[in-house]
Symmetry: C2
Subunit: 457 residues, 2 copies
């Protein structure tokens, strides 16, 4: 709510700002030079309030067909350029390299003939996987399964962990007749009482398996039956970090202790923890961070108790943190057993270690198993990230943004606190721009944000 | 297993068949004329065993990256035409009309700029929904929610039924503080002990909510935790139907009685049935049919007990039965509260009655909410279905196929029985061709099938 109010204020401020300039003239930051003059607009140009009259009309039309409560406004994507509409896409709207992929007649078949990838993949599928997803595989992982969306990725990652865990329990023997017959009617031992440990504030998707591990907002979970699975506290760090080193270390130790307690408790009540799932940075739950030390120790706890360790990079993966995967900031050779992804990766899916591979066909399966047209785009996005050094750019703009926010925090201490990066949680702003969000965009943002804060003092 | 053996035999027989013909000459049925000479190949031409050496090599390569146990062979989709590769697509491979959609520069944006449909839909979204999905909406339904795949469609349909049911229970009052706080930790009343009633043999997807209603094969369910939800028997009809009218009516009555008993039992044990989900024709479970009378009475039972009625048309929808939706064969004005779809519809999603609309934004939600590029294709597929009278064609080829199978049944009574339409179940063959499967394709199939059966006598 707070964040949505703030976005409206931002929009309003942009409008007022632009009223001061000559007609047709756009707001351009002087603080950093652009590099892509030919492609991107000079900046946002506000012509109406948001949503504008056309969006209101279209929202009314769509309201006759479906729920429109979450709609901000309608977009003209044909005319969109760059990344002024912040969203889950990696390199902004209408990037020339992606247009080129689309215009190449050799690629047409991937769009027109969607194959059932698990049964009849196209000839170039292994090659495309190798040059796209596997070229950025997390440390220790050489296997990947594509899926259509983030929720399906996590659902199937959970299934892979359950299958792996039960195979261990069975000593890798074939399932018993009782396993086979009881699973058909949803009962144990075939459908075992296993659990996934998740964290308060975590978000892992909205389908029923994922939703049992999502604990960010009630609106996602209310009225949907769930599983009795353990939920651990995520560290609540105090800022500035350097002033609270000791307190924060204690807080992380408390959370890790709770994790171990829960694993033991759930084992005792006959619902062993097959896997632990966590985001490297909690997103929906309020942009919450923890130290690399916390994640290293958590990974060790998983190993010690024989639970798989699943790092959910659906929101953080694909370069948004300046490294391709957020877990690379932990500096570990063996960071996880499973890493799931979607959003900026364009295709969903998950990487996994060899032993997490399901032992038989059709266990991790569905009709499409992803969409190879998304792999095509991803391969090109990776080329652009490399060619344009976007991970360095992200690091640079991230630093500039953080410094700017610190300055604003000093200037408006009653309005801004605990600036980290990041509407999410109850009172946080989350920044998840596309990778083409450069330093000059940061300055544009900071100027407008400054105006909004000034109006609130 | 049995079916996969049979497909291999079919492939083998095709090969042998073709060895008899002159090189380069293709097997062409004489029994029915083709209408699309310019576009489609004359028939399948087998050049190697299946899988061929190239597929074996590629399978080995892909095996280094993921499980390949379900892969039949690799395809050259660029060179594919028509529907000789039977799969979940509606009008065959490389249909000229779909190529045209792709080649239209106005459509490029829908592919390159995937929008978050729930937040910032493209300007043409209401119009495209109206001309595609809503133009074929089931009777009594004017609302539709798109989703990326079949499983997500059903997961969200279940959530819509749970939300609807709990809102009724609460007398449409706002949720209590206890509802809101308990749901965050997966506990009732916020995450209520509600259930979905499904049928033995049913298939509704593989994510954890869907999987709790899937009961076709153990391989889908083994080792995955599930819900204690009621499972009713699906009628096992005897064939030929006209000889067993009385027995079949009794069988259907028995199943319906069981449904009512289960609803009462589950209410008594504190897990009321919020919804009933059923396929109009069981697919994965063995191509099992029931009469319109059965479905009418089931729909009434749902209404009587206050449960929502969800017809899962993921496999049957989009024209495969000669009507656009299989449930149209029941001849009802109010066939369902929810109808879900995917596969031949290209986009996933579900239609629903007004009262099944979630009361608030973000309750039925995810990042993408489908993919508008699929809506573009669907609009054109619907044009082709209308222009080429494909529903009539499907009806005609279906009749021809059935007659042919009856003849083969008479000829090989020890090998073939209970011919209806339809590898699925333990010993069934399922036919789910594209809508462009014409009478002459039927004859091609019947000739080859005849050869295979002859070899087994």
């Amino acid at each position: 709510m707070a964040s949505s109010l703030l976005s409206r204020q931002l929009a309003l401020s942009l409008q007022q700002n632009l009223r001061l300039t000559a007609p047709g003239c756009r707001y351009v930051s002087k603080a950093a030079a652009k590099t892509q003059m030919e492609f991107e607009y000079d900046g946002p140009s506000m012509k109406t309030e948001v949503p504008g009259p056309r969006s209101k009309e279209l929202t009314k039309q769509l309201g006759e067909m479906q729920n429109v409560g979450a709609i901000n406004f309608f977009c003209n994507y044909e005319e969109s350029r760059g990344n002024y509409l912040i969203s889950s896409i990696p390199i902004g709207y209408n990037h020339p390299s992606l247009i080129k992929v689309m215009s190449n007649p050799n690629n047409m078949s991937a769009f027109v003939n969607r194959p059932a990838l698990g049964i009849m993949p196209p000839e170039n599928f292994p090659e495309k996987l190798a040059e796209s997803l596997l070229s950025v595989a997390p440390s220790g992982m050489s296997r990947v399964q594509t899926m259509a969306c983030g929720s399906c990725s996590n659902e199937n990652a959970y299934k892979a962990m359950f299958i792996w865990y039960r195979n261990k329990e069975r000593g890798h023997n074939i399932p018993s007749d009782e396993d086979v017959s009881s699973c058909m009617i949803n009962q144990s031992p075939g459908c075992p009482d296993l659990s996934i440990l998740s964290f308060m504030g975590g978000f892992h998707g909205r389908t029923m398996g994922c939703l049992a591990t999502t604990h960010s907002k009630a609106i996602h979970k209310l009225d949907v039956p769930s599983f009795d699975w353990p939920i651990a506290p995520f560290p609540k760090l105090k800022y500035p970090l350097e002033e609270f080193t000791r307190e924060n270390a204690q807080e992380e130790a408390r959370c890790l202790e709770e994790v171990e307690d829960l694993i033991v408790q759930w084992r005792q009540k006959g619902r062993p923890v097959a896997g632990i799932v966590i985001e490297p940075i909690q997103a929906e739950g309020g942009d919450n961070h923890a130290t690399p030390d916390f994640f290293k120790k958590l990974r060790n706890i998983a190993r010690k108790h024989g639970s798989a360790f699943h790092v959910d990079e659906v929101q953080t993966g694909g370069g948004a943190t300046g490294k391709f995967w957020a877990h690379e900031h932990w500096g570990m050779d063996d960071p996880a057993d499973i890493v799931s992804f979607s959003k900026k990766m364009l295709t969903g899916g998950f990487y996994h270690k060899d032993e997490l591979q399901a032992d038989k066909a059709y266990r991790i399966f569905n009709t499409w198993m992803g969409d190879p047209s998304k792999n095509l785009f991803l391969a090109e996005v990776l080329n652009v990230i490399r060619r344009e050094n976007l991970l360095e750019e992200v690091t640079r703009s991230g630093k500039t943004l953080l410094q700017g926010l610190y300055q604003l925090q000093d200037q408006y201490p009653n309005l801004l606190s605990s600036v980290l990066l990041g509407g999410c949680g109850d009172r946080s702003i989350r920044f998840r721009p596309a990778l083409v969000f450069k330093e000059y965009h940061v300055h544009m943002f900071l100027n407008v944000f400054n105006d909004v804060l000034a109006e609130h003092t």
